[in-house]
């Protein structure tokens, strides 16, 4: 897929994105006592037709990044350019129009479908809400969408509880596709599914991408699956991107100490390789995003930490072509 992309064809540009969630204390007279630093100064580009993997451990801000890009949350600072339009400056009807071009697939296929609507109504709703079809056209369109995601079009009148997790996730995919978006943010779309079903959904996403030249931001904590599906991968830690580069480069030559530790921690389903592997075991837990460490956020667990790491936040530098790392020691 990568070879079809022209160098200048960025679909999405994220520049200095910041999202903090305030913490209030008190019941009637509320006072802000702090903030969760969910996303701090995140910048990256996404090319048309590619898949950008966004990985990190729970609480690292990867989902918040995805949601802030789609303007579910309005950022505290920074810009998000979709086809050169700054989404942050848009409001109301203008933003609503842009929303057609970007959709989301959610993690939990049990919670993200309204249990009181039929599957057909769920998939038709975006079409009707955006006045892109009348009821009759919508029903037709839903039939072809159901077929496209590998479900029987006769399922139109069934309710979500009649389906298994994998089938529900297919419904979520059909809903995201109904507006023919160019960008789909997939927020852990397979982590709630069993292994044998995960492969079905991933294969479906790959087929659809090839068919419609879709662009994906694939948010996940499963590093093996991210390697499988992504063209480029960004590694996040405590709200900051630590490393961003091509898939092959990241998995074969990780430069950031966090990426190295993260990759070494992933078990490989091969007993002989597992016995030979050297693990980098990180000490301790991820610090709280309410009070992130000064300087480099990884320094409290970093095997290479030096005094400078506490004083100064490392710049997100391009170390080699298309290989960005935020670390003083690299």
């Amino acid at each position: 897929m990568t070879n079809q992309i022209l160098p200048s064809s960025n679909l999405l540009r994220v520049n200095g994105l910041v999202k903090h969630f305030p913490i209030y204390k008190g019941f009637i007279f509320q006072k802000q006592v702090g903030a969760v630093h969910a996303v701090d100064n995140v910048s990256f580009d996404v090319k048309r037709g590619e898949t950008l993997g966004l990985v990190g451990e729970s609480g690292c801000g990867k989902s918040t990044t995805g949601r802030t890009i789609l303007q579910f949350y309005r950022p505290d600072a920074g810009h998000v350019y979709m086809e050169d339009v700054d989404l942050v400056s848009l409001k109301g009807e203008d933003l609503r129009k842009m929303r057609r071009k970007m959709q989301m697939i959610f993690q939990d296929p049990y919670a993200s479908l309204n249990p009181r609507m039929t599957v057909g109504e769920i998939i038709a709703e975006p079409l009707l809400a955006h006045h892109l079809a009348d009821r009759k056209e919508a029903i037709e369109k839903v039939g072809s969408l159901l077929h496209l995601v590998g479900l029987n079009p006769a399922y139109y009148h069934r309710y979500p509880h009649e389906f298994s997790g994998g089938q529900r996730q297919r419904v979520g995919v059909a809903r995201a596709l109904s507006l023919e978006p160019s960008l789909i943010v997939c927020d852990e779309p397979i982590s709630a599914l069993d292994v044998s079903i995960q492969a079905q959904v991933v294969n479906l996403l790959e087929d659809l991408q090839a068919q419609f030249n879709l662009t994906y931001i694939f948010i996940a904590h499963d590093l093996s699956m991210v390697r499988h599906i992504s063209d480029r991968v960004a590694v996040m830690y405590l709200g900051v991107i630590m490393e961003l580069t091509d898939r092959e480069e990241l998995y074969t030559h990780p430069l950031h100490p966090y990426t190295q530790a993260l990759l070494s921690a992933v078990p490989i389903p091969d007993p002989k390789k597992e016995r030979r592997r050297q693990r980098i075991i990180l000490q301790g837990d991820v610090p709280s995003p309410v009070n992130p460490p000064s300087g480099c956020r990884f320094r409290t667990r970093c095997p290479l930490a030096a005094p400078i790491c506490a004083e100064q936040a490392p710049e997100f530098r391009e170390i080699a072509t298309d290989h960005h790392v935020a670390c003083h020691m690299v």
Partner: protein
């Protein structure tokens, strides 16, 4: 590695539900030798947790019912013991760690008390001795300032620390057999690596046998000596760990390994998904439970449910077809 520690024969467990009788475990037999690590792999609902909970007599009855079978621990049948006898064995001889570190502690008792409790119950230690030992154990599993944290409540511990404390509690009486039910699934990969490292270390130090239940074939590859794969309440393949990954013989095992993306593999291999989904267990199957999803099936598969048959030395699979040739195994 010689003496038989646990020998389970033809275990059957059912649940009486409003929708009917669920046949959760259907004649499972396996054994664990001293100092050996057995991995039990399967997807959700395959009966892997119910199997070990039946052995430990932790199945609530009603609705559950262990219908038949034997679970011989050093020659004595756990399923026939009185409640007092099994209580004595649980915790001191067989101890178990559960999946969810958030809910397996009592939230209104201190960590120190909960880790010390089995010592007071089984080893007749005084409160003072037990607390001192609890501090040692927490230290052993890598909780910093353990003696000062005995008075902490579970909510003051992070997920990884709670799972460590859980392991400390399970190991407090040096049990010969340690059962772990997906203890690392709810954790992030770097924390998971810490826990796996800890268990391997403790296993080698104290020479205990381990039963490790998981859906993650990667974890099992690095940990187990032997593996049992479960599907629909049956063990469908059993082999030494290298043998299983090198020569998987049951179509389900082959499918599972094929559907896993591999972090050590580059390139865009298409994942081989297993179509369909696992059967609902309202009826005891008369045919092979994997039949509807199987690509190797022959006539006999729909007439008789295969039991485990030898494939090789110490390698058994429940399949009528020799998957290397595609011909009947008769």
């Amino acid at each position: 590695m010689s003496e038989l520690l646990l020998n389970v024969k033809d275990l059957r467990t059912r649940f009486h539900t409003r929708d009917g009788l669920v046949h959760a475990v259907n004649g499972v037999s396996f054994f664990v030798k001293e100092g050996e690590t057995l991995g039990i792999v399967g997807e959700s609902g395959c009966g892997k947790s119910v199997t070990v909970m039946s052995i430990l007599r932790l199945i609530p009855s009603p609705p559950g019912e262990v219908v038949s079978g034997e679970a011989l621990y050093l020659g004595r049948d756990l399923l026939k013991m009185s409640n007092d006898e099994i209580r004595h064995i649980r915790g001191s001889q067989l101890s178990m760690v559960f999946q969810d570190p958030m809910t397996s502690f009592n939230p209104v008792m201190t960590i120190g008390h909960q880790v010390a409790e089995p010592l007071m119950a089984h080893q007749e230690m005084t409160r003072k001795q037990a607390y001192a030992r609890a501090a040692e154990l927490l230290n052993l599993v890598g909780i910093p300032n353990a003696s000062e944290r005995l008075g902490d409540y579970p909510h003051q511990f992070s997920g990884g620390m709670r799972q460590r404390a859980m392991i400390a509690m399970a190991l407090s009486c040096n049990p010969p057999l340690f059962i772990a039910d997906e203890p690392s699934t709810a954790l992030d990969v770097t924390i998971q690596a810490q826990i796996l490292d800890l268990v391997k270390h403790l296993r080698d130090e104290f020479g205990m046998a381990v039963i490790w239940i998981t859906h993650d074939l990667g974890i099992i590859a690095g940990l187990a000596d032997r593996v049992a794969v479960m599907y629909a309440g049956f063990i469908i393949e059993e082999a030494a760990v290298d043998d299983l990954y090198d020569h998987p013989s049951h179509p389900y095992t082959i499918g599972l390994l094929g559907s896993l993306p591999r972090m050590d593999e580059s390139g865009q291999r298409r994942l081989t998904s297993i179509e369909g989904m696992p059967p609902v267990l309202y009826q005891p199957p008369t045919e092979c439970p994997f039949l509807s999803r199987c690509t190797y099936k022959i006539d006999r598969c729909s007439k008789e449910n295969p039991s485990l048959m030898p494939v090789d030395d110490d390698h058994r699979a429940a399949c009528w077809v020799d998957t290397t040739t595609g011909k009947s195994r008769a």
